[in-house]
Symmetry: C2
Subunit: 314 residues, 2 copies
Amino acid sequence: MTSSKTASSLAANVIKLSDPEKELLDQVDVFIFDCDGVIWRGDSLIDGIPETLAKLRAAGKKMFFVTNNSTKSRAGYKKKFDGLGLNDVPAEEIFSSSFAAAAYLEQTKFKDTGKKVYIIGEVGICEELDLIDVPYIGGPADSNKQPDMGSGGMLEVDEDVGAVVVGFDRNVNYYKIQYAQLCINEHDAQFIATNLDAVTHLTDAQEWAGNGSMVGAIKGCTGQEPLVVGKPSPLMIDYLENKYGMDRSRICMVGDRLDTDVLFGTDNGLKSLLVLSGVTSEEKLLSPENSITPDFYADTINDFFAAAPAPKEA
Amino acid sequence: MTSSKTASSLAANVIKLSDPEKELLDQVDVFIFDCDGVIWRGDSLIDGIPETLAKLRAAGKKMFFVTNNSTKSRAGYKKKFDGLGLNDVPAEEIFSSSFAAAAYLEQTKFKDTGKKVYIIGEVGICEELDLIDVPYIGGPADSNKQPDMGSGGMLEVDEDVGAVVVGFDRNVNYYKIQYAQLCINEHDAQFIATNLDAVTHLTDAQEWAGNGSMVGAIKGCTGQEPLVVGKPSPLMIDYLENKYGMDRSRICMVGDRLDTDVLFGTDNGLKSLLVLSGVTSEEKLLSPENSITPDFYADTINDFFAAAPAPKEA
């Protein structure tokens, strides 16, 4: 570990957290944590995290856990948290991009239109739409379908589709693409993307094509840009402000990526903190090529408390 | 039919063909015809076309037929021409975008690299690569595959893939997307698109999501732009210049679309002629909003000869 003095002298605006009480905890009421690289890596919890989260709770801090993965609902993610021993995290603190899509539809009173949603995506989106009572078609139900492409053939679409939600879908196929194309091009359905991540971490063995592929397919046949509800969209912060009356200057975004997490924080008027427990190295952060600077950085969120993480609470 | 005088007085730079011998045939050695909307509409030949093509041949004109559809090879398209009674068109005059991909690989001596191609697309691309003896994998053979996405699972790719060719593929799936992603992102394979058409005419009953979808999927997971070999890429004109020593100022692009066919002509230093037998109306062509002007326009290519098309030759 590099001392904070050395680090901060290398790049004027990049400060390693050294007095967390004064620099961070006194200034922040709400922490938004990116999950992968901050809370866990792949399927393994990062050491000391349960204790640190418990200390933050004991100090009266609110927290939210954000993931651009839309394949699980909040409830589905709750099971992952539980499985990793993070049983204290309630579903309400989890912001999956499947939930973000539902939250957007709720905020814009989609239900009042009487329309339904066409889903490219997996069960997470279905479960979230069930919870807000918005009808939907597509998703897993269309995974084995093929349109009639014989002479004179066509795919008939439900004219009541008012929005197409596109999330990661490992069973994406031409039927779904054509269905979405017709809804958007011919029936003016809204085009909503849970996120645009190019790659995702389905397994630890390699990087996998992410929802950028599914969204790209629909961009390519409609010429339209989607409304993005997951990171780095400002919608989540609007939601927190509206729902909980939170002051965004006292929210801190914590993540391991400069161009998504930190940018998301700075673009939205939040404090931002980069942790080195994920994909970004201190060298990259401090290099002259990097123009994205968090307010602070730390090795892990365990550094939010001065002493080494000890399981006093929990 | 509107008289040429009326039409040309409406918009200064848009001239309806009135003296085809002097205005067109004396100036042009080679005609490049878009097919749909020029030669046929859907599955029906436009009246008088065989006779007009025969007259052009009798006048010593060379001609090429271009289509962005990659699902058929030249040989496959030859069958379509034959079926419509255009038996005089040899395969060498047909420029499908599947052929364009093969022509590009040939021009750039891809075979000498010893690498192979990964195909997202249908049999047309396979047949064209067979003809130039370039090895390939993927395409129809990967239509029913799924990668191992279980814990620790991965998709192993052939490290000898030097290029990914993406054409229209009604059996596109996540396996193919992930395969292409790994080849491009991790093994620096070239990313080649046959075309970027948003929609295509699989059947007459509706518009269908086109190769823009397949290419969009790969753009979305790689962040890369493809090299496009079909319309409106200049590669085909380079090919004609190199292969046949043609003078591009004596080539005329003939099509029914302003933003693809006519633009393709003007961008490449060709003459251009719009026919009204396809998707563009005279009203649209002459409207003040239209900024794309062909050198001439005509109702159909039958107007290339002053008299009404009569089957004198053929």
